[in-house]
C-alpha cells in the first residue's frame, strides 16, 4: 500500500497515525507541508529514520524546494518528482491519503 501524508507533523497528528498503521514494506509519500518531517533537525527526524527500516519513505521534490528544504533532506529518504509520484500510485494496488 502507498500512504500519502500532506500535513506538517508539528501541526497535525496525521504522520504519526500513518506510521502507526503502515505495515512492513509499505511506501509512505510525504507531500506539501508534510515534507518538513524528513529534513535535518526536524522533531520527526528520529521517527522517520526508525520507520525507514521497515518502510520506504518518499518525499516530493518540488514541495521540498518550495519550502527551502531541498538541501536538508534526511539520508534514506527518496526524493521524487511529479512523474515519480504518478509511478508510485501506479505501482501500488491501493493508496491511503491521511488528510
Amino acid at each position: 500500500m502507498l500512504h500519502i501524508v500532506n500535513k506538517s507533523a508539528t501541526d497535525r497528528g496525521s504522520l504519526e497515525s500513518c506510521l502507526r498503521m503502515a505495515t512492513k514494506g509499505s511506501a509512505v509519500l510525504l507531500i506539501e507541508d508534510a515534507v518538513y518531517a524528513v529534513t535535518n533537525g526536524s522533531a520527526a527526524a528520529a521517527k522517520i529514520q526508525a520507520a525507514a527500516a521497515d518502510l520506504k519513505i518518499y518525499a516530493l521534490g518540488p514541495d521540498l524546494a518550495a519550502r527551502g528544504m531541498a538541501g536538508r533532506v534526511l539520508d534514506g529518504v527518496n526524493v521524487v518528482d511529479y512523474g515519480g509520484f504518478v509511478d508510485l500510485v501506479a505501482e501500488h494496488n491501493s493508496c491511503q491519503s491521511w488528510l
Binding site: 518538513y36 526536524s42 518540488p62 514541495d63 518550495a66 519550502r67 538541501g71
Partner: protein
C-alpha cells in the same frame, strides 16, 4: 491610497498590534494572507510586531524555490517589510530548536525570544491577530 494617509494623520491613536504567524507557507493560505494584512495595516502607522512561532518560522526560510509547485514565492516579500516601516520581527527559540533552524537559515533579520519573553510580548499588546 492618499485617503489612507489622510486617515492615519487624522486619528493619531497608536495601538500595539501583534500578527501571530503559526502556519507553514504554501500548504495553507494563512501565511500569504497574514502577510498581505500586515502590508495593508502598515498604512495606518500603528505599532506592529510580527511574530513567527510553531510552523510559522518556516515562512522565513532562505532558499525557497516555488517554480516546481507554480505558486508565488512570497518569501522575498518579507524583505520589503523594512520599507513599510515594519521592523519588529520575532521568532521563538523553542520553535526554531524543534525544527533544527538557526537565525542564519532565515531570509530577514529577526529577534529571537524565549518562551517567557514571547508570552510577555503577547500580554502587552492591544490587539493580537492570528494566522
Amino acid at each position: 491610497m492618499s485617503d489612507m494617509d489622510d486617515m492615519d494623520e487624522g486619528s493619531g491613536i497608536v495601538k500595539k498590534f501583534m500578527f501571530l504567524n503559526r502556519k507553514a507557507p504554501h500548504g495553507t493560505v494563512y501565511a500569504l494572507e497574514g502577510l498581505e494584512v500586515v502590508l495593508i495595516t502598515a498604512a495606518f502607522d500603528q505599532d506592529v510586531s510580527m511574530v513567527f512561532t510553531d510552523d510559522g518560522v518556516y515562512q522565513l526560510l532562505k532558499g525557497i524555490d516555488t517554480k516546481g509547485i507554480e505558486v508565488k514565492d512570497f518569501s522575498k516579500t518579507y524583505r520589503a517589510l523594512d520599507g513599510y516601516d515594519i521592523e519588529k520581527l520575532y521568532v521563538d527559540q523553542a520553535s526554531m530548536d524543534a525544527r533544527g533552524l538557526t537565525e542564519d537559515d532565515l531570509i530577514v533579520d529577526v529577534t529571537t525570544l524565549s518562551v517567557a519573553e514571547m508570552a510577555n510580548l503577547m500580554a502587552e499588546q492591544d490587539v493580537v491577530i492570528s494566522f
